[in-house]
Symmetry: C2
Subunit: 176 residues, 2 copies
DNA sequence: CCGAATATGTCAGTGATGTTGACATATTTT
DNA sequence: AAAATATGTCAACATCACTGACATATTCGG
């Protein structure tokens, strides 16, 4: 190694990260993968006159039936004013019902209706299929590697909220 | 197995996918992982008065210096009217320059300026750090598993566009 | 060479989704 | 009874997408 090379190498490792240090490969893969992953339900939603916001709400209400408005806001990290418009449409459309909290009657528990469960399933299906395709030749161990990676990409509080979601708590019994 | 259980099992495997068949775990992990992954640059962008759209543009111009407007539109899958406003801000702000295509002078090649390269790096850094953290104890083989998963989640044309991007083509020489 | 096709830019209007701030109502807590 | 909490609602605004229409410069094909 010439002294110039040594100096250059030192300067690089010393101060700024340069292009070579940045993980552009995975950055771009995440961008494209997520965009395409969301493109399937987006098409379906357009037919209902709904958007992504509706998808997220109907998904989480289905996954965590009975969650309160405050819990949903915390999960989605949006403001109640943002939630209001979209949630109202889902309630008016008969996809979600509100029931007063059993302990605290100020709360509104959100429950999916049969129609809401159906919608959530419909939207989840192409995404689940896409995942299944991507994992088609993946061993259980490698699936675990992927899941660990995704969990480790999250902020701790997101991780906590995933952990809080029961294994399989999709509403089935629910009130219509 | 009782006959009732057998019947139930049959009915389920026969017709619709039900809750148990949907890969909710990875669906939600992708949602939270991607949201948190984008939250870092979002904060920085706010300080510049920029948004996510600026991020995507400055990123890809940096990664594929000299790409044309049409190529960028194809990559981002947005309309030219959507691109125009945001691109104009980046040009006016001195982050990107346009040069007439060498062969076809109707085309506008997009190149990052030094300032643009700096911005792209700044935005990529927290994302790269997050990835590095998530992969900290991951073997090269397992990294490959994760990359393959992400690639397999994409639509074929997205995959083609990633393949088209040279390994390390971030502009360094570029014109100011 | 001229007309068609192409690459880009721009104006105008609209929609979905997010934000802040302010205030109202019902209920629970202290 | 007063304060805090959970929710709902009104109003204004920003970002980023869309469609449709049209202008300009350049290249291409006959």
């Amino acid at each position: 190694m010439t002294s110039e090379q040594a100096t250059a190498a030192f300067a690089e490792s010393e101060t700024e990260k340069t292009a070579a240090d940045i993980d552009f490969a995975i950055i771009e893969q995440l961008f494209f993968a997520y965009r395409d992953f969301t493109s399937d339900p987006d098409k379906q939603l357009a037919q209902y006159g709904f958007g992504r916001a509706h998808h997220r709400i109907v998904h989480f209400v289905n996954r965590r039936p009975g969650l309160t408005v405050a819990e949903l806001l915390e999960l989605l990290k949006i403001t109640k004013q943002s939630l209001a418009r979209v949630l109202k449409q889902l309630i008016d459309g008969g996809y979600i019902v509100q029931v007063p909290g059993p302990r605290d009657r100020r709360q509104r528990e959100l429950h999916p209706t049969e129609k809401g469960r159906k919608l959530a399933m419909d939207l989840a299906m192409p995404q689940s299929r896409r995942i299944a395709r991507a994992l088609a030749e993946t061993s259980p161990r490698d699936r675990a590697v992927i899941e660990r990676f995704l969990l480790d990409m999250m902020n701790p509080d997101s991780r906590a909220q995933i952990a809080a979601a029961p294994k399989d708590r999709v509403s089935r019994t629910g009130q219509e």
